[in-house]
């Protein structure tokens, strides 16, 4: 590469970094004060981009029209943020953090369908910025003038946020609340108003980040999750809560991506390296590297534990044999008395039940929230398919070996993950899932790329849907029963001890990391089993089995049912799968319907469905006393 082409890639990367920084800074601010991991932040970015597109059409493609559209779009997105905070989040600040996460997932679903309804499914390509559509010649190469403007905007916004945080009363309150919001309240500050204002500023930043991209990037419906993943990476690499860190990380990642695109395939010492294929993973590689070396990000500090008067998680209760047998009997009888379709749906449900229970095991008893559990589900599915199609193994062997392969990946991924905790851990799991996804997505010759693998059918004796359902029920049921059993073994107790008090657990001689690592591998293998069973039931595998959406589906299932009970994740998986099936057959806007149902449940039963029902029963029983 010549010096001038290096410079061009650098400028390209810096231009991309500006929007990335804006959206990440907003995410970081909101997380700092409210402790809510706002999954809907990418959706706000998407709304900013769509909004700017429509407003420019409305105002006309003049410089004034363009810039007023960009600013107005950002402000409107800010108001959407306020609306979300007032209508939903304000009601659940006292609920467990994971439940707030669930609410933001629901908002992602709803915003996606609002965008689909308003702007349609086609990508919308925005106009170039009027007055800035020319290119500037730098060292013989042409650089779009708009990119140069973006490069200036990033540091300007950084300076503005910095002034706001360090030179105003609002900034002092925000920084104080980031450390100890309860104390801020005891000093007479209305937290609700502070939270709303922080949400407004954070949402404006996301909206502005999106709106500014209009000349560079078509508005599309996939942006929400793609951007949130990028923003997570940037905030975590920079250090949660550090605005300067977010800027630094955005620049590093923006530039690294630009170089990967710009370099294309390069042959070094006779080995051809395709850098353009690395584009999708490079940020996650950077993140994994940074988190291992600096667990709190480049400029982050260890997080102060927020004071919450939350009760510790109650002990789990074992479902009784009688209860389990009744359900098992029902599950065996149902396909006899209903149609073939019920068997197909039930097969889905038992696969997702095991997926969800394995995720619950790592989140609940082990206390490690995973945003990327689909990695193991998807690896299990792909392993089964590839062993059958590429290695030529019999289906039965493929089905049994696939979980071991998923477990093997969990050994590697888990080694890194157990070194972190809390949000950082969750983000790292997301990173590994994304790395797995992009390998699968890009390795056409082996995985079939975006088309996936076809013809993954079970052996003839299992071809009948009902017979296959019984196999799925047996395997997934055994997996669930095994995980529940493990929860009440000394291993399970040690994990729960480590979750409730890591220091005390280590002080009595528990090597917590090893236990957590083992738990990671165990749930990885079982999620892999779920994926393998699922693959053979569908006959084909697509990269979506390993996507962020699949991971968030798992989280929704667990949280919907409730983390605090064993049966919750099973109920959550069943209801979610059934609901999605029913709603998707009746409306194009099934996501919004599910999102609204989730919101309703979140607001009515802040402990999840099963937990909420149990609390109701308890209250009813205690009534006479």
């Amino acid at each position: 590469m010549t010096f001038s082409s290096i410079l061009i890639q650098l400028l390209n990367g810096l231009a991309a970094a500006s929007s990335l920084f804006l959206v990440s800074a907003g995410l970081s601010l909101i997380f700092g004060v409210t402790r809510i991991v706002n999954f809907a932040h990418g959706s706000l970015y998407m709304l900013g981009l769509y909004g700017a597109y429509s407003l420019i059409e409305l105002f006309g493609r003049t410089p004034l029209g363009f810039w007023s559209a960009v600013v107005l779009a950002a402000l409107v997105v800010g108001l959407v943020g306020v609306l979300i905070e007032l209508a939903v989040l304000r009601r659940i600040y006292r609920a467990p953090e994971l439940f707030q996460l669930l609410a933001t997932f629901a908002i992602v679903l709803i915003i996606k369908d609002i965008a689909l309804f308003t702007w349609g499914a086609e990508d919308l390509v925005g106009p170039r910025a009027p007055g800035l559509s020319m290119a500037v010649e730098i060292m013989g190469k042409r650089v779009p003038a708009y990119d140069l403007l973006l490069i200036v905007i990033g540091p300007l916004v950084l300076a503005a946020i910095w002034l706001l945080l360090t030179r105003t009363r609002w900034g002092a309150l925000v920084r104080a609340a980031t450390q100890d919001r309860e104390m801020v309240g005891a000093l007479g500050v209305d937290q609700a108003k502070l939270f709303t204002s922080v949400f407004f500023v954070g949402a404006v930043l996301a909206g502005l980040g999106g709106a500014l991209q209009i000349p560079r990037e078509p508005a599309n419906l996939e942006l929400d999750l793609a951007v949130i993943a990028d923003a997570f990476v940037v905030t975590v690499v920079g250090g949660l809560g550090s605005i300067g860190g977010a800027f630094l990380a955005a620049v590093i990642i923006g530039v690294a991506k630009a170089f990967c695109i710009g370099m294309g395939s390069v042959t070094w010492f006779g080995v051809e390296i395709s850098f353009s294929k690395l584009t999708l993973v490079v940020e996650f590689l950077i993140m994994a590297l940074v988190l291992v070396v600096r667990p709190y990000g480049l400029l982050g500090k260890p997080q102060a534990a927020q004071r919450v008067a939350a009760e510790p998680a109650p002990p789990f209760k074992v479902p009784s044999w009688g209860f389990a047998l009744v359900w098992l009997a029902l599950l065996v009888i149902v396909p006899w008395v209903t149609d073939r379709y019920a068997a197909i749906l039930l097969t889905d449900i038992v696969c997702f039940a095991l997926f969800s229970v394995s995720l619950h095991f790592i989140m609940g008893p082990a206390g490690m929230v995973s945003f990327g559990h689909a990695a193991y589900f998807g690896i299990g599915a792909y392993a089964a398919g590839l062993l059958l199609k590429r290695a030529g193994l019999p289906m039965e062997a493929a089905l049994l070996i696939a979980p071991l392969i998923a477990g093997a990946f969990a050994i590697v991924y888990g080694w890194f993950c157990v070194r972190l905790s809390g949000v950082y851990l969750a983000m790292l799991t997301l990173a590994f899932a994304q790395i797995s996804w992009s390998i699968v997505f890009q390795w056409d010759s082996v995985t079939g790329g975006s088309n996936g693998v076809f013809g993954v059918w079970p052996s003839p004796w299992l071809a009948d849907k009902t017979v296959y359902y019984y196999l799925a029920l047996a395997l997934c049921g055994a997996g669930i029963a095994f995980l529940w059993r493990v929860m009440f073994s000394p291993f399970g107790y040690a994990l729960r001890a480590g979750r409730d008090s890591p220091l005390r657990a280590e002080a009595i001689g528990i090597d917590l990391r090893r236990f957590q690592w083992a738990a990671f591998v165990l749930v990885g293998a079982l999620a892999g089993l779920a994926g393998a069973v699922y693959a053979f039931s569908k006959g084909s595998i697509s990269p979506s089995t390993i996507s962020i959406a699949q991971s968030t589906d798992g989280l929704v299932m667990v949280l919907l049912g409730g983390v605090e009970t064993l049966t919750g994740p099973v109920v959550g998986a069943a209801i979610f799968t059934w609901l999605r099936d029913v709603v998707a057959r009746n409306t194009e806007f099934w996501r919004a319907v599910i999102g609204l149902v989730i919101l309703l449940i979140v607001l009515l039963f802040p402990q999840g469905l099963v937990g909420g029902l149990k609390a109701l029963v308890m209250r009813w029983r205690e009534w006479p006393a």
Binding site: R175, A176, L187
Partner: protein, 233 residues
């Protein structure tokens, strides 16, 4: 000024306060004495709304406050100084004070930064220092100053002398007397009887979440068996 009647409070499922009643009047310093774990801090937090009272009444300046969120209670003029100080470590001294600032209030002294720096001269020399880089004694001064920025009519001081060097304890006693001189009512929780005797007009003794004694400081000083039973370690 502050009246607490039959207050019950829980931490999770643990029943900590079993019907605490006490009162503090304007211009009066009242000590709430008791051993570790007797319920002093919980009583303070329950009055402030940080631990929601399960039962009982708290009235402040003639208004029921036991169902209000902490910020509303603070805005009525009840200041709270936590035992662990809870300084905002990333914020400078003046920024910590800024967070505590509330509008001036009728019937309560109005505090400014300068007035507070006069009360706590140590702080005046470290206006820009981050709260995290101060000694324990300086932090204790700052946490009181921060609460005073809200111009309270009454202050809850949770163990103000805890962990301080003797000379700083002496300064703290002077500061509390100065607050009394301004007409504030002060309710302080203490394990340190000697310190309480130096500043308080009246005292309550709390044990196992119940008030065992209430009376003048002189009465308590005269009754050795009472001190032996509830306060000696």
């Amino acid at each position: 000024m502050l009246e607490v009647r039959d207050l019950h409070a829980f931490y999770g499922r643990a029943h900590i306060l079993h019907g605490v009643s006490l009162e503090a009047r304007a211009g009066e310093v009242v000590a709430l004495l008791g051993r570790n774990g007797a319920g002093k801090s919980t009583a303070m937090k329950a009055i402030m709304g940080l631990v929601p009272p399960a039962h009982g009444e708290v009235a402040f300046a003639g208004k029921r406050i036991d169902r209000l969120p902490p910020y509303r209670i603070a805005r009525l003029g009840l200041g709270y100084v936590p035992e662990e100080r809870r300084i905002f470590t990333e914020l400078s001294v003046v920024e910590n004070l800024e967070v505590g600032r509330q509008p001036a209030r009728d019937g309560a002294p109005t505090w400014t930064e300068d007035k507070l720096f006069a009360l706590f001269p140590n702080l005046a020399n470290m206006r820009e220092r981050p709260g995290g880089r101060m000694s324990g004694g300086e932090q204790q001064m700052l946490t009181i100053a921060r609460t005073l920025m809200g111009n309270p009519r009454c202050v809850l001081l949770d163990e103000p002398s805890e962990g301080l060097a003797p000379i700083i304890v002496e300064q703290m006693a002077n500061s509390i007397r100065a607050l009394k001189g301004e007409g504030l009512c002060v309710l302080l929780s203490e394990q340190n009887l000697h310190f309480s005797q130096a500043v308080a007009d009246r005292a309550y003794i709390i044990e196992k979440g119940q008030i065992r004694f209430g009376g003048s400081m002189a009465e308590l000083t005269a009754d050795a068996s009472l001190r032996e039973q509830y306060l000696s370690v």
